[in-house]
């Protein structure tokens, strides 16, 4: 039988559906525009599947409660927008250091500060990577449609569980509030990854000891019978804090390499008309929809233009961009900010191709025509 479970919903609502399908059973957060539908949907749906929702007293508490819940073995999520994302940063760093799997949805809004609360922006690209202090890896994924909001939320949970790390769904208000019809897949069609747990009879369990051939340690849930210590301080294999240069170096390096060594597993992207593209439009999230339309119009005019859409924003699809930069004459980066991801493109391309930028900070979207005229200008 064909699955006809087709529903009209917002990106924010699809995030809730995806999260519950992925196994999310705890949500701790604080309401903020334009992410509120994620909290509201979670409050409505979680108790129906035996999960828990709590509206905390602030954004910091929302992130903290999410981490606390994840430690008991539950899949946990929080959602926020720009100003709230800033407040969560210290605890996101904690989750990175203590290796607690969790998902943070950031439905980006215009800024700085409270900016234009209901207007779209892609201004948190660098905050997603560098918002907290110290060196740490991050995974950030940006959906471009309501269907992808569902699918990529599932993927965020899977990556969080697999690599024991906080994962950011870096959405924008365009996708968050856009309504599209999507087919909700059956549970059997969805790949679910759960964190590795130690064996029940593992009496020598060391919470932060990585077994040969693994990139992260197995994670016991609090209450499962493996008592251990969790801290944001540099810790040894037992989890106990230590003031050792050697231990600090080994731990911090492993946190980086567990992501760096698995970039091919983590990075995804979409390409359109890239085979012979002389000009490549690089855009992500909601902006990529305008880019796709502009590139199609350009092709109709006989212009050799392609589109590259990073779906994984961090780690950046460095290899792929380097590759097409060798062939293309120019790259146009379109994003809803003054120029953030374009910096990463410039770093990767290193002058092998000309780079142009369309940035917009007036709270409106970048239109297909704006991208098309830039294409015609530079080709």
């Amino acid at each position: 039988m064909k699955n006809n479970n087709i529903k009209l919903m917002q990106g924010n609502e699809a995030v809730v559906e995806g999260a519950i399908a992925a196994g999310m059973r705890f949500y701790g957060g604080y309401p903020i525009t334009p992410s509120t539908e994620v909290a509201e949907g979670s409050a409505q749906k979680l108790p129906r599947v035996g999960g828990k929702f709590i509206q905390m007293e602030d954004e910091i508490g929302g992130m903290a409660a999410t981490i606390g819940a994840a430690l008991t073995g539950v899949k946990a999520m929080t959602a926020t927008s720009g100003p709230g994302f800033s407040l969560k940063q210290e605890n996101i760093g904690y989750a990175a250091m203590a290796e607690i799997p969790c998902v943070i949805v950031n439905v980006q809004r215009h800024g700085p500060s409270t900016g234009l609360p209901t207007s779209p922006s892609q201004g948190d690209v660098m905050q997603a990577k560098w918002g907290t202090h110290g060196d740490h890896p991050i995974i950030a994924i940006s959906p471009g449609s309501v269907k992808e909001a569902f699918d990529l939320t599932v993927r965020c949970f899977n990556l969080a569980e697999k690599y024991r790390t906080p994962v950011i769904l870096l959405m924008d208000e365009i996708v968050g509030h856009m309504r599209e019809g999507i087919r909700i897949p059956d549970a059997s069609e969805i790949e679910i990854i759960d964190r590795k747990k130690p064996a029940d009879n593992d009496n020598d369990y060391l919470a932060y000891k990585v077994e040969e051939g693994e990139c992260v340690p197995p994670m016991a849930g609090f209450g499962d019978g493996h008592r251990y210590h969790v801290t944001g301080l540099v810790h040894d294999e037992s989890g106990f804090p230590v003031n050792s240069n050697a231990v600090a170096d080994k731990l911090c390096t492993r946190l980086m390499t567990k992501i760096e060594d698995n970039i091919d597993d983590i990075v995804t992207y979409e390409e359109l008309y890239m085979e012979d593209a002389e000009i490549v439009v690089l855009a992500y999230g909601g902006t990529a929809r305008s880019a796709k339309s502009a590139v199609k119009k350009a092709r109709e005019k006989g212009l050799k233009v392609g589109m590259f859409r990073p779906i994984t924003i961090w780690p950046f699809p460095e290899k792929q961009v380097k590759d097409f930069a060798q062939k293309a004459k120019g790259i146009i980066v379109a994003e809803l900010n003054y120029g953030q991801l374009v910096l990463e493109v410039e770093r990767v391309v290193k002058g092998t191709s000309d780079i142009f930028h369309i940035g917009k900070v007036d709270g409106d979207i970048i239109t297909p025509d704006e991208i098309l005229s830039k294409i015609e200008e530079v080709i």
Partner: protein, 262 residues
């Protein structure tokens, strides 16, 4: 034993307070696997590292927010929070009053040493007015919080206070706090000879504990004393012992509504 020596200074009262909590858990016969001890950042907050339970050392001021997530996600766990005066009432003040308001079944023990010890002796929200700290070189002009009064007013259902000197009383208060189905707060007045004591010429750790013994008055005794007799004294004992709906149980009722409908 490989974790010794602990990080606390000689004469610090925190070891006595930590031991009191461990004794209370032992006296109640709790299953170690089902006990979770959460702390923030500061001298007090290093205690869970020395305790053989599920232990969580979090970010500054956020112990109660982490603990709320732990308790909500797994109400079977006996969640105990160890926090300091700065951790609980300065940076974490908002989490404290909201945990009290929710009446979530968590027992919080505030290790109050009246100073920021780990950062080197700055004044805290419980440093008495007029006392010295490295950031109050001319005397602290802030008015201190009375933590039990704050917690009781915010809705905590069990509230008590004892001192490092009154360790046996502290054990009893922690036991009753754990047994209370709701949010319990017990203030443990600690001893900081290194920063608070030295800066304010309070003498050795023994001198400070002698002061605690001489100055503390049990709430029950205080009821019979005049304001004049209570001048310069502070109260210890059980301040509040009431009941109110517990948060995780109330949420479970919502879940049950759906499981029954099926």
């Amino acid at each position: 034993m490989d974790k010794l020596p602990h990080i606390w200074c000689p004469g610090c009262g925190h070891g006595i307070l930590m031991r009191s909590i461990a004794q209370a858990i032992e006296n109640l016969g709790l299953d170690k696997d089902k006990v979770c001890i959460v702390s923030g950042i500061g001298c007090s907050s290093r205690a869970p590292g020395y305790m053989d339970f599920n232990t969580l050392h979090t970010t500054h001021g956020r112990a109660l927010a982490f603990a709320t997530g732990v308790k909500m996600a797994n109400p079977e766990l006996e969640v105990i929070v160890i926090t300091g005066d700065g951790d609980a009432t300065a940076i974490g003040g908002n989490h404290l009053i909201h945990a009290c308001r929710r009446n979530i079944n968590i027992t919080t023990i505030v290790f109050n040493n009246n100073i920021y010890g780990m950062t080197g002796g700055q004044y805290s929200p419980t440093t008495p007015t007029g006392d010295l700290g490295t950031t109050a070189p001319y005397g602290n002009i802030d008015r201190p919080f009375n933590i039990p009064e704050l917690a009781a007013a915010a809705g905590a259902t069990y509230v008590g206070r004892a001192t490092a000197y009154h360790a046996n009383q502290l054990i009893k208060l922690v036991e009753k706090g754990i047994q209370n189905k709701g949010f319990s707060l017990i203030e443990g007045l600690s001893v900081c000879p290194t920063y608070y004591g030295r800066k304010n010429k309070k003498g050795s750790a023994v001198n400070i504990m002698q002061w605690q013994k001489a100055t503390a008055v049990d709430v029950k005794v205080a009821e019979k004393l005049s304001p004049e007799q209570l001048e310069g004294k502070f109260l210890i004992g059980e301040f509040k012992n009431t009941t109110a709906p517990e948060y995780t149980e109330e949420y479970q009722k919502i879940i049950d509504r759906f499981t029954k409908e099926r």
